[in-house]
């Protein structure tokens, strides 16, 4: 975005490697898609015949909740923040929905889940925006508070049992078309809204502005705290949607439902090319990043790597991708 002006060639001939690099820098989707393709090809080589329309459907279905959580990280990272409470907020939303469905019916249960998530988002937003607490600390602290509150809540509703509404199960784990998962019905509008919103809406531009230079943004008349408040509320809402979809996918709900996806969600945004320092990035790269991580996980499982080796490779690959990416973007 901001690099458009520098991009104009200063005249003369540009070395082809340089041109290549610029292409990669301006179109990060190209190398990312190439990497994704390589992983899919590897998958096919490791398990010949595994790559089929059905496999694609299953992979997309598994990647979507991660991609939505990574949207929270992408938006937060654009402003130079991070939202580590998404795992707890998502698990909380899923858990509230599952425990209230029996008594209140699905619609009210989902509504209650969303309201609880919005409260968490308001708390995060006030802490980060108004009190200027570091987002890492604020969202971490709110995560702790939610965990404790939900543990208490769990004791209260222990006899209610959990029940996932049929419509959520259909959305989360069903497939309508031959192979495409139903959660695309939720994801595609969300993704279009986020990508278009970042590019064309005022709020999207404000996110970039606040992350790029908060002082300049404030001097230009941006009410930074309002932007941050809106951002963290939006992030909590997205997290709740992701949590509800996960509950529909695994057909159960617990307080540890989504927690293990928090760090991968940060990784997906980083691999997708969003800078954790703020001001640079976008959501389309993040979606590919989530797909890459999902395929990578199933590739490592297909190669029968033990859990330990899988973790090591996972970490090493994230560093490697991020390093290559940083090289491409920074040099020139």
């Amino acid at each position: 975005m901001t690099s458009q002006a520098e991009m104009v060639p200063t005249g003369g001939r540009v070395a082809s490697s340089d041109r290549m690099r610029r292409l990669l820098r301006d179109r990060p989707l190209i190398p990312l898609t190439a990497l994704l393709t390589v992983l899919v090809v590897l998958m096919e080589l490791v398990r010949p015949g595994v790559v089929s329309p059905d496999w694609v459907g299953v992979t997309i279905r598994a990647a979507i909740p991660l991609a939505i959580l990574a949207a929270c990280q992408t938006l937060a990272m654009l402003t130079g923040g991070i939202d580590l409470s998404v795992g707890m907020v998502a698990s909380m939303a899923a858990f509230i929905m599952a425990t209230q469905t029996g008594d209140q019916g699905p619609a009210i249960a989902i509504g209650l889940a969303i309201i609880a998530a919005l409260i968490a988002g308001v708390a995060n937003g006030i802490g980060v925006g108004v009190f200027k607490v570091h987002p890492l600390i604020m969202t971490l602290g709110i995560g702790l508070v939610i965990l404790g509150l939900m543990n208490v809540y769990q004791l209260v509703v222990v006899q209610a049992g959990t029940e996932i509404p049929a419509v959520i199960e259909w959305l989360g784990s069903g497939t309508t078309l031959p192979f495409l998962p139903n959660n695309l019905l939720v994801f595609i509008p969300l993704a279009v809204l986020i990508i278009a919103g970042l590019r064309y809406s005022g709020f999207g531009r404000l996110l970039f502005a606040v992350g790029d230079n908060p002082v300049a943004a404030r001097l230009a008349g941006v009410r930074v705290w309002q932007v941050l408040l809106a951002l963290y509320i939006l992030s909590a809402l997205l997290a709740a949607i992701a949590g509800i979809l996960v509950a529909g996918l695994v057909k159960t709900a617990s307080l540890a439902l989504v927690e293990q996806s928090v760090l991968p969600s940060v990784a997906a945004a980083v691999i997708g090319g969003t800078s954790i320092m703020g001001g640079r990035g976008g959501y389309s790269g993040t979606i590919i990043g989530a797909l890459i991580l999902t395929v990578l996980t199933s590739l490592l499982i297909a190669m029968q790597m033990p859990e330990a080796v899988r973790q090591i490779l996972f970490g090493a690959i994230i560093v490697a991708v991020a390093a290559v990416y940083t090289r491409i973007v920074d040099l020139s």
Binding site: I137, G148, A267, F314, A323
Partner: protein
Amino acid sequence: MSAAVDAGTAGRSDLLAQVRHWSQRNSWTLALLGLFAGILLFTYVIQPSYGAAQLQGLAIGALPLAMATVAQAIVVISGGIDLSVGSMMALTSVTAALLMKDQPEAFAIPVVFGVLALGLILGIVNGMLVVITRVPDIVVTLAMSFVWAGAALVVLRTPGGGSADWLTDLVTGSIGSEWVPRALVTLLVIVGVIWIPLRRSTAGLALYAIGSDRLAAFRSGVPVGRTKVFAYMLGGLFSAFGGLALTATTGIGTPVPGAYTLLGVAAIVLGGVSLAGGRGGIAGPIVAVLVLALVRTDLTLLGVNSNLSTVIQGAILIGVVMFGSLLTMRRART
């Protein structure tokens, strides 16, 4: 941060001004100490039998987190953040526990030094990756936390191993008076021997310099890359101390990282270290760890549901940090 200025003015001013200056510079740590004393008094009021033995237990329980906090504080002061502290602790802890199991006592001495060397190496790898790849610290160390945790699982699949008796003795019981927990003394000696000389050295100044303003430090001739690796190396070393503390206090090694990374971040913020780097010390975070541990004890003594006590701890964390930033904002305005 302003060591050179202090040395100059302190020589001229009288003792009183010096004390006042010192306490102003350490006001946050002193306030935390006051808070700790207050909570300790409160503890004694609600539980009159709270005494030396309980204090020893408090120090033992707080030791691993204190080490993790020191590791995190050094890295954050240098302008980075190390999200792999917990994983490094798990890796060093299981390595120590595996090597010490069923071995003669004397064999544990080279093991301890070997594990500390391992910690140094882990830290150097983290630091080199941050410097060479130029990927933000938070991303590199987040990814490395997977790597080190995976390595811990390779070393030891399930909790097990053992600890040498002398190592356990080093952190249990008391020294001199029964009111002086040995774990606390061990902590203060280790941190003091490493940190105090360092803080007064050029390398220590360089740590603060690159954390406070990287570019200015570079232009002043500070070797930024090398100092950064040095900071992560110290982070790895203290994580290894933390891992040894885990093995010593529990008697086994557990390959699953605890919440030490994030609790450590919380404790340094509570202890007055700025996450932006270049500001704060080691004493504040250590006192903050003790405060957090004592609050947890009190909540248990008061019979608060352990889940609610998680809520209260989170709220305290947020509240203190909000209060701190309010103070900063007010100071900035006037």
